[in-house]
Symmetry: C2
Subunit: 358 residues, 2 copies
């Protein structure tokens, strides 16, 4: 087991990572505050892990709220279902909401915890690789609005994050690879050693080797925690976490969020952003090739859908990260370093749009 300590704003909390944590009564008892709990999960995860969690928490009063599965249910209406459950269980300010599931459960559960009685404790137990390395760390919570993703939300740091790598055993391959895309992202923007380690060990991740998973997740959480600690509210440096995401969002939006998983779209987006970094003279061709090769070894897509360069540009301009009409991008000055900029030559930008989307 590895423990990462996160310090962000006035919050301090641990991320526990390793196999068997859902059966570790001592750990769960120490990390989950409150006598009264509401476990928020979904119809896919609850049948797999809810009883195991219950069994490991004797002496607590535990209610459950099982949500429908899927991003399309990440709405204010579903959050209202969680509020109803919190009220029905008569939970007070000392109670804790436990979010057991993937990113959708974590985002809705975290948002409900942020707003119920103006904020109760929340413990995140992410059960997907993506949630373990990304959405459960950093305190961003929220739901989607028909007008855009995550438009309604709150910053609410969890009391603890418990990432049991055993829960990844039941994760579909495609989702495992999508989570791996975010780990590759951390290597690209902040950690050349992690990137090199992944080049040698990606097969162990895909084989769900517990040691390899623990290492990769811990390394990723450490990077994200360090970035978030410096910039909780995304004033500046936190934006580098969006490497690959601006191109990726355009891909997701153009395909109605149906054809690609988020991590798959980000994988393609990272390749495009790396290619643009190369065209802008920031990196060597070998870096682009290494990124492409690692994404391919991870079984991730590297070819963009031909949605058209103009359509891609329009979709990117609708992104929250647009600054006064110019698309703000995360680029790579080197492998393991990232820079956020809206100040780059337009011709290479148009060039990659044409090459990948045109």
């Amino acid at each position: 087991m590895q423990t990462i300590h996160v310090d962000v704003g006035q919050s301090h909390y641990p991320i526990e990572i390793g196999p068997g944590l859902l059966g570790d009564r001592g750990l769960l008892d120490a990390r989950i505050p409150g006598r009264d709990l509401l476990v928020v999960s979904d119809v896919t995860v609850a049948p797999l892990y809810l009883e195991r969690l219950r069994d490991s928490l004797p002496g607590r009063r535990i209610g459950a709220c099982v949500l429908p599965d899927g991003e399309r249910h990440k709405t204010l209406r579903t959050a209202a279902v969680v509020f109803d459950a919190l009220v029905a269980c008569k939970l007070n300010r000392d109670a804790t909401l436990v979010a057991l599931g993937g990113g959708v459960v974590g985002d809705i559960g975290g948002f409900a915890a942020a707003c119920y009685q103006r904020g109760i404790a929340c413990v995140q137990i992410p059960t997907t690789l993506l949630a373990q390395v990304d959405s459960s760390v950093g305190g961003k919570t929220g739901v989607n609005h028909p007008g855009g993703k995550n438009l309604i939300g709150a910053f609410h740091q969890p009391a603890a994050v418990i990432a049991d790598t055993d829960t990844l055993a039941t994760l579909p391959d495609r989702q495992l690879r999508a989570g791996l895309a975010e780990i590759i992202k951390y290597g690209c923007i902040a950690d050349p050693a992690l990137f090199a380690w992944l080049e040698n060990n990606v097969h162990r991740i895909l084989a769900r080797d517990a040691d390899a998973l623990t290492h990769a997740i811990a390394r990723s959480c450490r990077i994200k925690a360090a970035i978030v600690a410096r910039d909780e509210r995304e004033a500046n440096v936190r934006a580098i976490l969006n490497f690959g995401h601006t191109f990726g969002h355009a891909i997701e939006a153009a395909t109605a969020y149906e054809r690609y998983l988020h991590g798959e779209a980000v994988a393609i987006g990272m390749l495009i952003a790396a290619d643009l970094s190369l065209r802008l003279g920031m990196i060597e061709p070998s870096v682009l090739h290494r990124i492409g090769a690692l994404l391919a070894a991870a079984g991730l897509p590297t070819a963009a859908p031909r949605i058209g360069a103009a359509a891609a540009r329009d979709l990117m301009k609708m992104d929250k990260k647009v600054l006064a009409g110019t698309v703000r991008l995360v680029l790579l000055p080197a492998l393991g370093a990232a820079a956020v900029t809206a100040d780059y030559a337009q011709a290479p930008f148009d060039g990659v749009l044409m090459e990948y989307f045109g």
Copy 2:
């Protein structure tokens, strides 16, 4: 005009109080950030003041969202209407929500601002006396749930509060007096000089004298701001603001929130809490008499509905401020001082319940 500077957590903002502020272009321009605004108001206040506000803010892009009037509309569903308006106006993170109205508009508007894109700026322009002295100061925002008042919400400090005393000209007498109850509360718990001033000037408040209103509102905001600055999240000292409220909530709940305005119920609750303080030997009889006389001079009710002592006790135990089964009360060690305690003799408590409710 008076300006109160509030420092709470990492927020610093001004409360501007005086007549004519809705026509003061320079002040509004300086205090309301952002080029794009959404003004949230209700069907009662919007026809009276929305155009005046618009006229005073040339050069801004101003959208409006007019809500139904009344506490029963303070719901998550109504907050969703505000989210829809924020999205429809394509407001980004630099936009500002302006809440123009009473406590309900301020609470819903503040909550929507807290959650939209995880938090945009909010300027409160309270148009009732209650909102000017209470709900617009302190950063508590939220909506009701069928299971309880303000169960869903956030702490979100405003960018500024602008209290134009001229807007009180259109306030019904009964609502003016209900707001006055909260001003009397500040005198009771924190400011014997304010209390004595009110004894001599309550008729000027009821006559809506601008100088008297400005003095009373400023004094009240100063007290509330000082308390909130010490305790944003109601860990301890902020609880003294609930003087009269625990008994008052029981009165409101027993009468289905229809018979009494909040301030009216609080007035009765303050008298009961003062009587209990007397029975516990904390204050002299003269203090109880002065409080009763001032409430009567303000035209506020001082007799409780005969809901029964047992019913009152049960309703008080459902209050959020109950600690392990004992009703936590705000009592008066002296006029102008308050203490929060769950440690008091039961016989005098039962005595006041019998006398007022039995």
